[in-house]
């Protein structure tokens, strides 16, 4: 999925919550309404159409259009599923990678080194996200105007906790140990001061 650096290991792979996908599918279910309407008004359609075409011909046209419409919905469902499945937040012991699948021909990959993550904000709005425990995660990074946003992720509190744990893990604090403050000096004071 991603190329890892040397000594890099994946800590978390988090996806969007299933409800985000289901809510998209529910809107697609409304696509069946035109087929139901045709079935409901089939007598009227046949009585009107039989002025011009035979009963069998009308049936064939209706079956053809119905199957074509269902095929469109079927392809749309799989496209939505692909978008859902390939939207991933990957946290390694070195960086945060947000992979955002946009349609079938575009992918947005945002990466931030773990030490550049300054703040992590969780946003849970609404009753259903609160009950099902999903929400948006915002990573404020050191880069100017750069914020990584991950929408509809499941269990954001847990993801945040694990990122913090990873960031504060001893092996990731090695940079602090390289230059310990000299005796009697304040950390950060200029050399020779």
């Amino acid at each position: 999925m991603i190329d890892l650096h040397d000594n890099e290991r994946v800590v978390i792979i988090a996806r969007r919550h299933w409800f985000v996908f289901v809510s998209e599918v529910i809107t697609m279910v409304f696509g069946i309404v035109p087929i139901l309407l045709v079935l409901l008004f089939s007598e009227e359609i046949y009585s009107y159409g039989e002025r011009y075409l035979s009963y069998g011909e009308i049936s064939n046209i209706l079956v053809f259009l119905g199957a074509a419409w269902l095929l469109v919905l079927w392809m749309k469902f799989f496209m939505a599923f692909t978008n859902y499945y390939l939207d991933v937040l990957v946290v390694t012991n070195q960086r945060v990678i947000d992979i955002d699948q946009i349609g079938l021909f575009a992918r947005d990959i945002a990466t931030a080194p773990l030490e550049n993550v300054q703040d992590i904000k969780i946003e849970t709005i609404g009753m259903i996200p609160t009950m099902l425990r999903f929400g948006n995660l915002y990573f404020q990074t050191a880069a100017a105007d750069k914020e990584i946003m991950v929408k509809g992720i499941k269990n954001p509190e847990e993801v945040k906790k694990r990122i913090m744990t990873t960031f504060h893990a001893p092996q990731n604090q090695a940079w602090e140990k390289l230059e310990p403050p000299a005796q009697g000096k304040e950390p950060g004071s200029p050399p020779g001061a």
Partner: protein
């Protein structure tokens, strides 16, 4: 009085053939693109084969229904 119904039938028949070919092409291209994505970007193991099989069988049934109605419609 002739309303050109033969022409209308011919037009419908031709449209059905063209639409069937168009839908089949879109279905296959979309399937190939999605399969590439599933394989390339992280659907692990045999799961992408399962996705592909479900997509293909479902789509094929609908295309078969379209094809059957087109063939039956043609005199």
């Amino acid at each position: 009085m002739d309303f050109g119904l033969d022409n209308a039938s011919e037009l419908i028949r031709t449209s059905m053939f063209v639409l069937l070919a168009l839908f089949a092409a879109i279905f296959l291209i979309l399937g190939a693109v999605m399969k590439y994505h599933w394989t390339r970007y992280g659907v692990p193991g045999p799961r992408h084969r399962l996705f592909w099989t479900i997509y293909f069988i479902g789509g094929l049934v609908l295309l078969a229904a379209m094809a059957a109605s087109t063939i039956i419609y043609a005199p």
